[in-house]
Subunit: 211 residues, 2 copies
């Protein structure tokens, strides 16, 4: 498996390169490592190193074919096909995520919404009803959900993650401020906004002390 | 400066350790590297290595004093004092962030909200009016804003980041899906939800190909 060898920072840069390539207007052109580096705020050597994980790209002195590299990056990132996503938690964060336009445009399609609040169950968001969590595992299995966006309070996050795995989910985008304990066959990405702020205050504090 | 030596993954684990320590009910007790490791889903050796960046903690065989280590981690992460935060962008994402209870409880206090939509300017969220961006730099300087949460569309993110830096901001939590180009003296943390999903689909795709 390639998976464990690729650093998270490389994957992030691949996403940036793909965004850059999608921004090139003309089809059929070429792009150099230097151009990709400039747009991704990295170095040409880093671009070449990042891409080298996935085989041979481009020709020395000629750069990369824009459409070829773009399609290959889509394959590598798995965004050359749609993904079926369930939103777990129909609160404020869930709503902001549900309405985030980039998800759908990137092929991440929300196919079900769940909440444990009886007042919310049965309401509709767009075309989708909010389901009860009572028959959660069966519903996500029937709907062939592959990814779960977990936007529930910390107290219920582990339980809902466990049930999502039971229901066949392969990856979880976790907004709850806890570390989920789930099998290694399921991938988790944590989005912890307090930690992001703490990373900022850490960097500022350290730089003040070093000045 | 310590700053450049500490990996982002270490800082995230420090946040986790702090959460764990805050969860210990009794004051005055001790905790071992093993206990901290178990709660943070890492190893005792990693805990010791992470803490060793910041001096000497604990006593061999006796573990760490809970309240001492907790206070020290708060200092290291810079959360032993409040931070003045401006929210830039009063859209759906901005509102979800504004109402995110953990921010305030952690000392990140929103002191101003800005939007460029004339229909929103002058409205109140809680006690705070939504300001126009017309006198943005002056306002954040007057309010001594240190951190900006940037929740604006990609097209205006770079411009607002530049103006935030002009206004004296030291750190930016960026929700716009672009890489900001700002001076290295200002710290940026990117929260890019599409990239988080791409990291998931990447990992799943790679593991499928490796199976």
């Amino acid at each position: 498996m390639v998976r464990n060898k690729i650093p998270a920072s490389t994957v992030r840069r691949l996403s940036h390169y793909l965004r850059s390539l999608e921004g090139f207007a003309e089809e059929g052109g070429t792009v150099s490592s230097e151009e990709l580096a400039a747009r991704g705020q990295t170095t040409a050597a880093q671009v070449r190193k990042d891409l080298s994980h996935f085989g041979s790209f481009g020709k020395r002195g000629l750069g990369y074919q824009v459409d070829e590299l773009r399609d290959r990056l889509r394959q590598i990132l798995g965004v050359d096909r749609p993904w079926r996503v369930a939103l777990i938690g129909a609160g404020r964060v869930g709503l902001a995520l549900f309405e985030y336009p980039a998800f759908r445009s990137r092929g991440y399609e929300c196919v079900a919404i769940f909440d444990n609040d009886p007042e919310k169950v049965g309401q509709q968001w767009g075309d989708l009803p909010i389901h009860s969590v009572d028959d959660f595992e069966e519903t996500i299995r029937r709907l062939q959900v592959e990814l779960a966006i977990l936007a529930v309070p910390a107290a219920s996050a582990q339980e809902m993650a466990r049930r999502a795995v039971e229901g066949g989910v392969r990856g979880i985008l976790n907004f709850a401020p806890i570390r989920l304990n789930i099998p290694p066959s399921v991938t988790v990405e944590d989005v912890n906004l307090v930690m992001e702020l703490e990373a900022l205050s850490f960097a500022i504090t350290q730089s003040e002390r070093g000045e």
